[in-house]
């Protein structure tokens, strides 16, 4: 069990690192977004195109990087919204069991099958060195590959969460403190 927990910690560290990195890209995305608006207007005034298809595409590429790479990290810090009408009343082992079942029944099969259904599509993009249909646009194959990366990180994080929940059930890890998630102010929920 201890070796598994070490593996879990490794996975957590990797995904936290990726998440931190992707977090700062939010700032870059804001910068590019502003440049594209301002560039359009200033460009019209000075009669030169200051923005470009590449920059416009960079904006949604960054957006994609942020949420595709952020998903596993968000899972690790329990940032994905839950319907916890019941779970908010559950404690410790029962909660761990519910999460373990959820990981095994939902997350791992879903991520696995998404990889299965996506990889050919990504390979097809690499094979033709696919680029944007717009002039001056960016290559498509890297950003498409990111879908695979995203589900791989999710798969790994799912394994890490499963290990942690299993450890709670076997008593190798203390149960989480009795905290109702629903009243947890830090997590985003509409």
């Amino acid at each position: 069990m201890n070796r598994l927990l070490t593996l879990s910690r490794w996975i957590d560290q990797i995904n936290i690192g990726i998440g931190r990195l992707a977090g700062w890209l939010v700032l870059v995305m804001m910068g590019v977004g502003c440049w594209n608006v301002i560039g359009r207007y200033v460009g019209q005034a000075v009669g030169r195109n200051l923005s470009s298809n590449a920059l416009i595409e960079t904006q949604w590429y960054l957006f994609s990087v942020v949420f595709l790479l952020g998903a596993a990290y968000t899972l690790g810090v329990n940032g994905h919204v839950r319907v916890d009408v019941f779970q908010s009343r559950w404690r410790g082992r029962r909660k761990a069991l519910a999460n373990l079942v959820g990981t095994l029944l939902f997350l791992l099969p879903f991520s696995g099958l998404m990889l299965f259904f996506s990889w050919k599509w990504v390979v097809a993009s690499w094979r033709i060195w696919e680029t944007s249909p717009d002039p001056g646009g960016l290559p498509r194959y890297p950003i498409k590959s990111l879908i695979l990366v995203s589900f791989v990180t999710l798969l790994l994080q799912g394994i890490s969460e499963a290990i942690k929940n299993l450890a709670v059930l076997t008593g190798d890890r203390p149960a989480e403190p009795a905290l109702s998630d629903r009243s947890n102010p830090t997590e985003g929920e509409p």
């Binding site: 931190r20 977090g23 700062w24 939010v26 700032l27 995305m29 804001m30 910068g31 977004g33 502003c34 594209n36 608006v37 949604w60 957006f63 994609s64 942020v66 949420f67 595709l68 952020g70 998903a71 990290y73 968000t74 899972l75 810090v77 940032g79 994905h80 919204v81 839950r82 319907v83 916890d84 009408v85 019941f86 779970q87 908010s88 559950w90 519910a98 999460n99 079942v101 959820g102 029944l105 939902f106 997350l107 099969p109 879903f110 991520s111 099958l113 998404m114 259904f117 996506s118 599509w121 990504v122 498409k144 879908i147 629903r182 009243s183 102010p185 997590e187 985003g188 929920e189 509409p190």
Partner: protein, 443 residues
Amino acid sequence: MDWLGPSMFAGALVLLSLGYPVAFSLGGVAIVFGLIGVALNVFDPVLMTAMPQRIFGIMNNFTLLAIPYFIFMGAMLQKSGIAENLLETMGQVFGRVRGGLAIAVITVGALLAATTGVVAATVVTMGLISLPTMLRYGYNKDLSAGVIAASGTLGQIIPPSIVLVVLADQLGISVGDLFIGSIIPGLLMAGAFITHVVVIAMIRPDLVPPLPDELLAVKGLALLTKIVRVMIPPLLLILLVLGSIFFGVATPTEAGALGAAGATILALCNRQLSWSTLGEVCDRTLRTTSMVMFILIGSTAFSLVFRGLRGDQFIFNTLTQVPGGKAGFLLVSMLTIFVLGFFISFFEIAFIVVPLFAPIAEQLYGFGGLVWYGVIIGANMQTSFLTPPFGFALFYLRGVAPPEVTTGNIYRGVVPFILLQLVILLLIILFPALVNYLPSISN
């Protein structure tokens, strides 16, 4: 095999209550029912190969790109303390009169929520900052709890909320139109809440005492400077964002990018921006964006299987057979959303349920009626989130309220506000011009 589609819907609701993150539960339910469909020979797994293309479509959707910007803008206003200062200053301005503090809370709630559109964040912030103050100066517990929960939910419908961005995307209408169309209804709601407090101040003045004089130390010129420095800039920022959309200067996504930068500059000018704050804001934006986008990805898988099992056909046939035509459909669809709002959050409703209703709504009310329909959905869900015993806003407030405020206080407190919201909802339904007038002059 017609029953498989509807049972998938019911199955999803049951499995979601296990409490596993919604995004992956939806994806998992899709896999489970897809496999059942394959086993029964009614589902072709080749349909699932459309998934990467669908995800790619989500990635380059220009409308959804507005989401991180507005989250960033709201998170920046909150984490940098600009929102807190705004609430404090408002309290000092309005605190002199009976009920003033409550009016300040409603006003700030409407503004704050407008930029975040995330009920949890607003209810929690206001609950933490204003509830203790209101109680300390003798405000009635029921009323204080009601005011805070109600102001926190206002953000659903006041632009530029991400709720409206998502709704517009799912209904296939312009975000700008939905933003503009919801301005009057949003103001009506805020106005009704304020009126309610004013009326209480007249008939039960003991429930809403004015603040004691010694607390209102800042007076005259000093207060005026504070108003100019603390209140005007964030108000101006929100007005600029909305104005640029209204006058067609910028798309909502562009306005969001500028608004996010504007909020950052504001925090910088107030010397309230540190690297750690900036990091926190980025982190919050990343988490909320990932959460929303992955619910969308999970819902996409769900919808793909649901359609493969002909569940959408079943829903369409059932709903078009609802008696009463336009009014009957409105009643059924709104009741469904209202009840679902108790159990699942806004995004699941928007991504799964709204697309099922949208084609019928378009058929019945015409494309022009979709903005009106969208505003009704927003106002309806806002009421749902406030309604005991399951309303989301109530849970959040419960989580941060001091122990002397009981769940009973919160439940009793929100009742008048629910009634007010229902009245406004009815007005919007009866007088579509309340929604449609502004978009018509904007275009």
